[in-house]
Amino acid sequence: MAHDLVKALADLEEEAALRIAKEKIDGGEDPRRILEDARHALEIVGKRFESAEYFIPDLIFSAEILKAITEMVKPKLTKATEVKRIGKVVIGTVAGDIHDIGKNIVTFMLDVNGFDVYDLGIDVPVQKVVEKIKETEARVLGLSGFLTLAFDSMKETIEAIKAVGLRDKVKIMIGGGQIDEEIRKYTGADAYGQDAMAAVSLAKEWLGGK
């Protein structure tokens, strides 16, 4: 029987992964170690996604299994076991748009890869984005939008950040169904990405982290 949590989770063997996690918890293993293994597995998942071996359903399934493992481990965690974060990212779906499946995957992958993510949800008013950036001093902003109506919303949000003098303090990435280089130029964003791993790459490039 397999005892390799990393392999089981990376291979999306749900039953095996949960069984092994439970065995380790019952066996008194350090909960930090278990979560480290889980995060390592998710890194492998991310790499397989980048090489087009895995796709979105695999990311979502891995998130489900990780959620279950985290729930199992949580009672054993103490304040001392919190992990240091690479940096802060504010993210949200822009005003007028209520889609969030893609954004949620990005939030998840950023979190798993060590970023402190402030997810503002959907249909986020321009002012709320500006305020969150001021409040958190985050140096990366992600804007998501699925419909063509998001283009102007993204542009307005970025212009509002410029208006309060914060544009050079924050790197901005955009993503969503209809986003391309045309729209990146139109909105004034620094970069756009096709998927969650692109967001992780950009955040690492801008904030450090391997």
């Binding site: 999306l12 796709f55 359903p57 007028g96 748009d97 209520i98 889609h99 063509t148 391309d180 045309e182």
Partner: protein
Amino acid sequence: MEKTPEELCKEREQRVRDAIQLKVPDRVPFIPMFEFFPAYYAGITPEEAMYDYDKACMAWKKTILDLEPDMYIGPAIFRSGPVYDALDLKQLKWPGHGVNPNLIYQFVEGEYMKAEEYDEFIENPSDWMLRRYMPRIFGALEPFSRLPSIPEQFFYYGAPSAKLATMGTPEVQEAFQALLKAARESLRWATVLMSFVKEMRDLGFMPIFYVATYAPYDFIGDNFRGTHGIMLDMYRRPDKLLEALERATQLVIRMATSGAAAAGIPVVFIPLHKGAEGLMSLEQFKTFYWPTLRKLIMGIIDAGLIPYVYTEGGYTSRLEVISDVPKGKVLYHFERVDMAKAKEILGNVACISGNVPNTLLCTGTPQEVRDYCKRLIDVVGEGGGFIMDASATIDEAKFENVKAMADFTKEYGVYK
């Protein structure tokens, strides 16, 4: 001498039919899939478009007469706000009801079918939909969840006649009243739509399709299980999902064939959602998405109708798989696809439509639009089998760009 509307209508019909059947038409047809573009163009808000039927029709009439597409979709695509209000629909937010009046309606993701309910759905879809699903998506019909099933309500002459009592309770009565109100409004909307079709026919234009249906995977994934739910089902309960897909196939074929026959317009629209690149692997596409979709396509063809398979998202990796259809019987629309490859793999099998980027129509120039159209006509229009369209349904777009697309197709797309 100027052609009569009737002659123009026949000419357009012939042009589109020739393109779909892989014969060489007189020129490349132009069939833009407008959604809310006519509203923006005519100067009404999406909210007005959904609530004021006269304005909705006015917007479409203006758009059609100004751009003269070979066929159009029509105001049905706006949907009726009042019908949704009467039912208190939860699966959408729309202008005036959760969304800014200037913006289009949007889908609300949710798990409207529990994973444990697959067997109920498979055994009796109508019962499950009436007493479990509809109460969840229509706030006004929530009391239907308390109705016993039809067999449980049946009584014969010797039995107590109190079995209909649940239907007599005030809340269930109210639910029936709401349904009645929605049905009356729906009839009013349908009547408006039919008279619009007649009015436009008298002016020389007809709709491309009147009926739409779903790929079985989308039928279950969009409406019932939600995106997350059905993705997880592929891993956690693949056999149950496959069984449900087979069951759904019968339902979606019926949706297609009964409606189209009644309307007398042979094209059946099938928008594809959850089988796109990224949303599942090619293996998952071959296992869960394509087989029942193909059965739907064949069911439509066997009924003498034309499937208009409107793919959304990326499909280049799936071109080989979807080429397995009878020649000259299918219209495939593409959004993000290598169009040269599409022509290479599908050119001898099916008609192709697309794929001027919506971003270009929104932020580009007329010349950039013309350049893109030229490349499409040269590569995909070679020898026929091509219909000019945008990559996705059109809401925001600059009129001058859409006009450039229309005019260029009609000038340059002529077959000598």
